[in-house]
Amino acid sequence: MNAYAPILVLGAIAAAFAVGSVVMASLTGPKRYNRAKLEAYECGIEPTPQPVGGGRFPIKYYLTAMLFIVFDIEIVFLYPWAVSFDALGIFGLVEMLLFIATVFVAYAYVWRRGGLEWD
């Protein structure tokens, strides 16, 4: 059971921090309300009952989501490398830099072609 004690402590600290921040914000923060703030939050797009356009997702939302997924998933290769970083040594570092450089080439293309602009 001893082995799990640090994890429990970590969990307790995380919970205390989360609850503490919310309580602190509600006690000390300014309270100004407007319409946008009161609307249901739906990860960046307009809430669903949307008469115009038949309630479909706007195309730019799709684009952003796709770009996010394709860059996000590259992280999968960073985890095993990070875990055995010291064991792999300089070879692992160089190969990983090459890998990240290729991802950045794709990023440069997306950026220059306006894939990251919302409007």
């Binding site: 994890i7 010291d86 064991a87 040594g89 300089i90 080439v105 794709a106």
Partner: protein, 545 residues
């Protein structure tokens, strides 16, 4: 307790892992092509629009020719024969068949890229030269945005880096020595091709539809490949083709887990069947051929030519390596099935070709029939079979590329005139072009003095020597059916009257002309003086394990 242990292991004191050995020099053909693709993406990102097309063509040609030079240098150093070996910790094999097919793929790609850059066929718009690809692939066909993009003379120059990525995958595919590398190569070559199908300038609906069909069926087939891989891994406990072969033939040391899994032949047989489905889909063998005619018809014609030639070469390379390296031990199990597939492919391809009214669909069914002929060489299961398949792929690639390049030239006001009726009397209007196309058709039919004859003779001879004589009889019969139709097209071109409102033959620039000339040269060369290349294929026909 276990948790702390794992944390400690991850936290620091872990023993150093020996760095894997990567032979960059021997992987250079692939590295050069992928490097050129990345440079192409950067050029696409940072260059002003007017410079892009020319720069991309230069980058692509430099990358592909550089890759080809690397292949030739590696072959000259003996990496195709005496110094052949497994690289990158055994996941890539550079040996005779791999280098031979890489050379074929790179040459094909060079010629295909030349046809991409052809700017003389479409009429100029506001002084801008345009090519066979959509002005803006994201614009809705017929919409205002598309009209504006067309007026400004935009071009989809992304086609060049996409092609380079596809070529990189194709180079890796026949060289991959484990199922993981093979799967990644399969996807790297497929994903760009799906996109390239969707960006024709004319008939965009057809083009998008082709891309959707190709994508959905292709993804379906690669899912089969992956599940088959999982089952084979379950059977053999390894993804390496050589180690799978050892487990299959019972040479490998038996671990407790292997003792259980190798009891279960279903894992092996179903796994092999599913992996084969993925590969047979790519070569377009019946019954996994249904995408071929639609995709060949809908894709922009230069892309169709590239796809028909290079994808088939790469996929047959992978198929050969899979069956010859990993599964020679159970050839009595897979040979009967491949017999069936080969017979179906030859017969269905040839018979359906007879009913086609569209040149591109006709060539698609012809490519299906050719996949069947090549499969007969694969079934020979000996060195002569490998050599015959390698030679056939070399011959077929250039004929196909040339034939599709000719298709781009026969045009009317709506773009390419692909309906066969509009090819009537072409021989009167443009005797040279019609003669060239007739030569390609004769090569498809396998008439002597063309490369098609030598190729067919080689595969049938190998199949007969390998104990597949009935297959050869079916092959000759279906060649006869197909020949009937090819000759009907030739008769249509030379002995019927041209339609008054028929298509005109566009005069190409030196780019397309080079591709067609090279096609003619190789077709005649391999037909008249095949010995050098037959010897080369024979020398290159040993798979390393």
């Amino acid at each position: 307790m276990i948790a702390t242990h794992a944390l400690a292991a991850a936290g620091g004191n872990s023993p150093s892992i020996p760095a894997p050995h990567i032979e960059y020099g021997q992987l250079s053909p692939m590295l050069v092509v992928f490097g050129a693709a990345l440079v192409g993406i950067l050029a696409e990102a940072f260059l002003p629009r007017r410079l892009r097309a020319a720069t991309q063509l230069g980058i692509s040609l430099a990358g592909l020719v550089g890759g080809f030079v690397a292949v030739v240098v590696l072959a000259a150093q003996g990496h195709a024969s005496t110094r052949a070996g497994l690289l990158a910790m055994g996941s890539v094999a550079i040996d005779g068949p791999a280098l031979f097919l890489q050379g074929v793929i790179l040459l094909t790609a060079v010629l295909a890229v030349l046809t991409y850059a052809e700017g003389r066929l479409e009429p100029r718009i506001n002084g801008h030269r345009i090519d066979a690809f959509a002005a803006q692939a994201a614009a809705v066909p017929g919409g205002e945005q598309e009209r504006e993009a067309t007026r400004e003379g935009l071009r989809t120059t992304e086609i060049y880096p996409l092609t380079l990525f596809a070529v990189g995958g194709m180079l890796l595919f026949p060289a991959s020595n484990d199922l993981l590398t093979m799967f990644v190569a399969l996807e790297v070559l497929s994903l760009p091709l799906y996109l390239m199908c969707a960006i024709a300038r004319r008939r965009r609906l057809l083009s998008q539809e082709a891309a959707v069909k190709y994508f959905l069926l292709g993804a379906f087939a690669s899912a089969f490949f992956l599940f088959g891989t999982a089952l084979l891994y379950g059977y053999a406990g390894s993804l390496r083709l050589g180690e799978i072969a050892d487990v299959v033939s019972g040479v490998a040391p038996v671990t407790p887990a292997l003792a259980v899994t190798t009891q279960n032949d279903a894992l092996l047989l179903i796994g092999l069947a599913m992996v084969s489905v993925g590969l047979l889909f790519k070569v377009g063998a019946v019954p996994f051929h249904s995408w071929t005619p639609d995709v060949y018809q809908g894709a922009p014609t230069p892309v169709t030519g590239f796809m028909a030639a290079a994808t088939k070469t790469a996929a047959f390379g992978a198929l050969l390596r899979l069956f010859y390296v990993a599964f020679p031990g159970i050839r009595w199990d897979w040979r009967p099935v491949m017999w069936g597939v080969a017979i179906l492919t030859m017969v269905v391809g040839s018979i359906l070709a007879v009913t086609q009214q569209d040149v591109k669909r006709l060539l698609a069914y012809s490519s299906i029939a050719h996949a069947g002929f090549i499969l007969t060489g694969l079934i020979a299961t000996d060195r002569r079979g490998v050599a015959a398949v390698l030679f056939y792929l070399l011959a077929y690639s250039f004929v196909t590329l040339g034939a599709f390049a000719v298709v781009t030239l026969v045009r009317d006001s709506k773009g390419e005139a692909t309906h066969l009726s509009s090819w009537a009397g072409l021989g009167r209007r443009s005797p040279l072009l019609a003669a060239v196309f007739a030569l390609f058709l004769l090569a498809f039919a396998g008439i002597p003095l063309t490369s098609g004859f030598t190729g067919k003779f080689a595969v049938f001879q190998a199949a007969a020597g390998g104990g597949a004589a009935p297959l050869v009889i079916v092959g000759v019969l279906s060649s006869a059916i197909a020949a009937f139709f090819y000759i009907r097209v030739i008769v249509l071109m030379f002995f019927s009257d041209p339609q008054p409102s028929g298509p005109a033959v566009a005069v190409p620039s030196a780019l397309t002309a080079t591709t067609i000339a090279f096609g003619v040269l190789v077709t005649l060369g391999l037909g008249l003086l095949p010995q050098y290349f037959l010897d080369l294929a024979t020398k290159a026909s040993i798979f390393i394990r």
